[in-house]
């Protein structure tokens, strides 16, 4: 699945562009894809030494409360909290998309992995035929959050819900991601495709999934 991440400022903010965030506190849930998307959106707009981040809670409902309380001047959300924030009058100042990546144990059964991929491919086709029908799935993840429960399928911008069939990760993409993380000091060592990707298992799984 392709994940959408949006850099969001609260309604009363004077921030209108990602450039406006130079030297301003951005709350990130370090260690998650959302935070890495935040770094990438920020570094595309301001010099790295002007990127200022602070730790923010991983649950987006807690991060939303912190944003509205003024704990930081912007943060990054995925759905459904992008839609929640928009309904609350927040401003999207940058939007990006990134691949969710399946990480497998070394001893994963490639046939089970292939069956997983086959099921996912069928679901991708089903959802893409009528995305709005499946927006209620976002409700399930936040049963105690009225700001999510009050969303209707029509509230969502389905252009932010992007699904594609899973494919093997290209070595160049994996290398770029590793080297980008290393450039921020988020990971140690040099990229070695042979220790990161078992192409034999991956190839068998994707062959089964055809």
């Amino acid at each position: 699945m392709v994940v959408c991440g949006a850099l969001v400022a609260p309604p009363t903010s004077d921030i209108y562009t990602p450039q406006d965030l130079a030297g301003r506190r951005v709350g990130l849930d370090y260690g998650n894809g959302t935070a890495y998307a935040g770094f990438q959106m920020l570094e595309g707009a301001v010099p790295r030494d002007a990127v200022v981040t602070v730790p923010a809670a991983t649950p987006p409902n807690e991060r939303f409360t912190a944003l509205m309380r003024g704990d930081f001047e912007a943060t990054v959300f995925q759905e459904p909290y992008i839609t929640v924030a928009e309904k609350a009058g927040c401003r999207l100042v940058s939007v990006t998309f990134f691949h969710g990546t399946w990480v497998a144990s070394p001893d994963v059964n490639p046939d089970a992995y292939g069956a997983l991929l086959r099921g996912i491919k069928r679901a991708v086709a089903l959802i893409n035929a009528d995305k709005r029908r499946y927006m209620t799935y976002f409700h399930r993840d936040f049963p105690g959050c009225p700001e999510v429960q009050s969303l209707t399928p029509d509230d969502f911008n389905v252009g932010r819900i992007q699904l594609k069939e899973p494919t093997p990760i290209p070595e160049a993409d994996a290398r770029w991601a590793w080297e980008w993380m290393a450039s921020w000091g988020l990971i140690d060592g040099t990229f070695d495709v042979t220790t990161q990707i078992d192409r034999k298992i991956e190839a068998r799984a994707h062959e089964v999934a055809r």
């Binding site: 699945m1 370090y30 679901a123 799935y137």
Partner: protein, 73 residues
């Protein structure tokens, strides 16, 4: 014989396809008995002690314990 697999929790934002496939019975039809684990409830480092280079995340914890074969990062 059915294949079995457990994966870490997915949510709609990163696993809508998995959740729909499970509900529609696609995995069962493909011969896979898939278990989607619940959230990890381990205590994480306090918020003010987290940094970009010392983050706190539950991603991969069940896999590391041998409780799940795959997770979405």
């Amino acid at each position: 014989m059915a294949l079995t697999m457990a994966i870490e929790r997915v949510m709609a934002f990163n696993g809508l396809d998995v959740l729909v496939a499970k509900d529609e019975g696609f995995f069962a039809e493909e011969g896979l008995d898939l278990t989607i684990a619940g959230p990890v409830t381990d205590a994480l480092a306090p918020l003010d002690q987290r940094t970009a280079t010392n983050p706190a995340t539950t991603q991969g914890r069940r896999q590391a314990r041998g409780e799940a074969a795959m997770y979405q990062a």
